[in-house]
Symmetry: D2
Subunit: 334 residues, 4 copies
């Protein structure tokens, strides 16, 4: 860590800061320049509160030279992490196709969609049992029975299941779930992350609506610090001023994260855009820039089928998308 | 709710939608224009999924005419809510001064700060026991023993205490806390909100970093729908591209929320700006535009005192601020 | 246009508004609902000030049913516009590779880069002569002589040239430039746009840092309303809270714009990301989601070559990118 | 300027960079740490391209220790700049009340509003003659004749006039205008700024919709570098995800800018919020946090008067606001 002092701070004024830093067990290397003084901190600075130092009256700015994330940092773990779920692998050149309905609605619905997406090449089944909704008056999901229906669909198709957790009090219900999803709104629910770190089960961690890549990695770090190294990151769009699409899909996050971390990164074009006709182009773009997988909403409900809409695709649209994604991957992976 | 159909949608194409709407128990009033058709939905539309309808291929857009928030809506409850904590009132013309350190560090620290802020006119004591930190390696607070120290400070000064909850599993520890704070990162932790709705205790709900005013009100609604009507809203800065201040304090939210809701609204200029010299001007601005209170960080730790910095104020700076805020309120309240 | 009146506005109160609307030459169709009244405006509403009506005390909201953009609207011009520059075509299935250095620095530099990018398959040469810089103290480009050097490079290679205009007073210098670029900071310099509308020459219009797609289309409309229909839109990243990349490349804008307009849309992955290693993945992603071209920075200056960095690519990196883009397009165009 | 090299960069690899820096006339002070090397650049670094260096493969990051803005920097000019227009002063404790209609519409209108706002205590008259509009089909202002009408209103009331310029080709029309306004969309129209720097006339520079405070200061620097030191900065709201108000008024910019620059800073609560009921509270807040003036829209047109709406205030509302602002200033200035 480097601390740059303000211009005009003399040797007297900096003594208390240097004393305090040394009392924290750090070596301090002082470099006096013509214009400013730079303090180089030597030792383990991971516990040093950067904001506190930055806020001191005599400090111009503070720079962390080493990254605050360790477990997920590619520098310390150059090989790609491969997350394995049954026979399915994600990362390290393995591409995962996760698909299914927004919400689990009935046995008939989930089994039928599961069969369709399996036929189209999906390797995992998604479906919401607990639904985070902005309004307390909106449908909140089938909850425990939704998870039971997912298991039935798994039995019928062999597809491992992915579903979202909203609270640690539901953890026992997720014991037999293959991949636990943390939604965007819970990306910084640190207590939940800590509990998931105690499991030995893959976690699909979605980026928060207004969270930086560093914050996403620090949240992965909460899980990994507990010993659970099976984390899959997911870019699903961030909140901006833009209004045509629901969120702004930040695809550059994919190659950027691949540089910073060894964890697999998948993309959710359905929630990012909120518009079915944009799902295929953005899925192809995600594959082209190196994503390790896609999570896509597929429905088979007659209301949607009739009117041809929603952010969800029909099974036949998904099959076409899956086919194109395969070809793009073949080309780009070379 | 009004559904505007796309230009060119004929009477045949709209039948399935109209049938489906009627099957949801709604009346549908059709108004055919030269250019477009507008469907007016009659009945209780609060459970209708607006996004789903908007996503249909034949629909141009959907507008909710009535607000989705009920309990906190000023239209249905024109008088200001006054939240009462012991002798302290917030809202309806009552202004609350909440102050204290960022984190509870020791008995000596918290009791000493509590005495200082009380002398300066604070009516409630704040202090973090559970600290939400971006990094799992940063100090996470004194937790249960931090709450015990707050109670000691309360006994020493008579000031009611405000402290943040991070997980429902800690609820028993908050039984004797006067005001439970929900931090920005948990504003959409719906499960936590629902549990707080079951309490009969004031909740201080901070706006999320990237949440709209409507989403803030919907989160208040989660608490109020459970029967807990003592909700205090708090504007604490939103995340933007701007980089000089930590966040962008959205003060226009104060009069805007006063128009939309009867709940009291307080402002946190310390976290919003992250810079001590900006705290007083923004506190005065908040008072001038009608806020119902201020929550401000005050410290007495020698490290900061020596170097004169941080987002926290020294007790004497807080005393000056409190005095000026009183005068501004007298002028603006007229 | 649809005007939704506030709940509780009676027939008396709405008379002045209806009278005023009729005085503007509009028919007004009144639809009284149980809960609210909707006014449907009949006639040409393109000149009606939506903000003014929305701001009236009796109005809940206003919705434009028809788009405010006409010339560039795909509804009124379903076929793709193909912009032609010499033998080069952009749009309607024709893909343009624009490449060159950030700034024109010398004859040797620009001719050498031009030859390199031509060999790699570029169809147009870019290079900055007038440089918009945040600081008045930074290098502002070679100006008029930069344009002369571009013409020399054009003669040496046959590549048409693309360069940015910053002020109408320089218009005469651009007479022999093939494509005039409008930079992000001038996207709403309406006076400049109007002057460019009087030309009969292709305009490359970059999206502003914080402009919506609708605003981009309205700026294209300024040019097209003057009779110049050869407009190429360019997505180059928007400003968000995100800090790892310079801007956030909004690739979903590509298919979204293709739905809204018939104009060609190209992507600038160099400025969007500001990091050379991200340029290739984002270029492939742009090609995969349907962009009509790419504008990419390529340099050959020894300083950069030595150190392997910058947002610019070396010629050999560009050649590799160009080859991969061709393959992705072949796959996705099917 | 400080250049921090990446971990693992050895002495060989850094030679080309150091040579190049020295060839730019800079001294280079090398400080080798245990973990990283820091290069301190000595000499005038104002012309050094920070982005270029930051982008090099061996560089971790670059920090400017000195601010890039000089003329407007408070460090080099500690006393407040006072801009004087006739008898009116802005800055250094002098508060300016600028008021008038959005657009100049007719002689009767502008003279009548001018008289009203003068009676209410306004010291300068604003009114748009050239109007920047998102759509080419919207009313673009009365242009040259609008400026003539403003002069008539000035003669009738003695109020100096403020109006917006959109293009350098209109400069001759502004010769007799007292204060020339640069709108938010032209804040980085660098060519226009440079021309205004050649004048010796006050310039009112509005912050762009997505511009940082540093960028605002750099734009002021463009004007001041030409020798025109009479620049008034204006905060008018920035673009965020928030949707209840038109923009997000960033009031913390006021004290922050007062710390960074000696130029006066005024606030525009009308455009920032877009809602008349929010104008008074935000005007009071601006006065409370130290703004040097307010620019507010006041109308007297019967359409608005009838319906009581818009972002503009009626003259009597403005008079009430002006009175309250005076009192708040008396309290806060102490």
């Amino acid at each position: 860590m480097i601390v740059i002092l303000k211009h005009g701070v003399d040797k007297e004024m900096r003594i208390p800061l240097i004393d305090w830093l040394q009392s924290q067990g750090l070596g301090v290397h002082i470099s006096d320049g013509d214009y400013q003084t730079v303090l180089g901190l030597i030792g383990d600075t991971s516990h040093v509160d950067m904001d506190l130092i930055a806020s001191l009256g005599i400090v111009d700015s503070v720079k962390r030279v080493s990254d605050p994330f360790k477990c997920c940092n590619r520098k310390f773990h150059p090989e790609d992490t491969v997350v394995q779920i049954g026979d399915v692998k994600i990362g390290g050149g393995n591409f995962a196709m996760i698909a299914g309905p927004c919400s689990v609605e009935s046995e008939e619905q989930i089994v039928s969609v599961a069969k369709s997406v399996k036929a189209a090449g999906a390797s995992l089944l998604r479906g919401g049992a607990f639904k985070p909704r902005t309004s307390p008056y909106d449908f909140q999901g089938l909850k425990a029975s939704g998870i039971e229906l997912l298991k039935i669909a798994r039995e019928a198709t062999g597809l491992p299941i992915v579903t979202e957790i909203m609270s640690i009090e539901h953890l026992p219900l997720f014991e037999d779930v293959d991949v636990i999803q943390v939604g965007a709104r819970n990306m910084q629910n640190f207590d939940l992350l800590r509990h998931l770190g105690e499991l030995r089960k893959p976690i699909l961690l979605k980026r928060g609506l207004a969270n930086t890549l560093k914050e996403l990695l620090m949240s992965a770090e909460y899980i990994m610090a507990g010993g659970n190294e099976q984390v899959i990151l997911c870019e699903r769009g961030i909140r901006t001023f833009d209004d045509y699409t629901r969120n702004t899909l930040d695809l550059a996050a994919v190659p950027m994260l691949h540089e910073l971390t060894h964890l697999p990164i998948i993309v959710d074009p359905s929630h990012a855009t909120g518009r079915a006709p944009l799902v295929q182009p953005m899925a192809l773009a995600a594959a082209a820039c190196g994503a390790d997988g896609l999570i896509i909403e597929v429905h088979n409900d007659p209301m949607h089928a009739l009117c041809d809409g929603a952010q969800s695709l029909r099974p036949e649209q998904y099959a076409e998308l899956a086919e194109k994604v395969r070809t793009v991957r073949e080309v780009c992976a070379k």
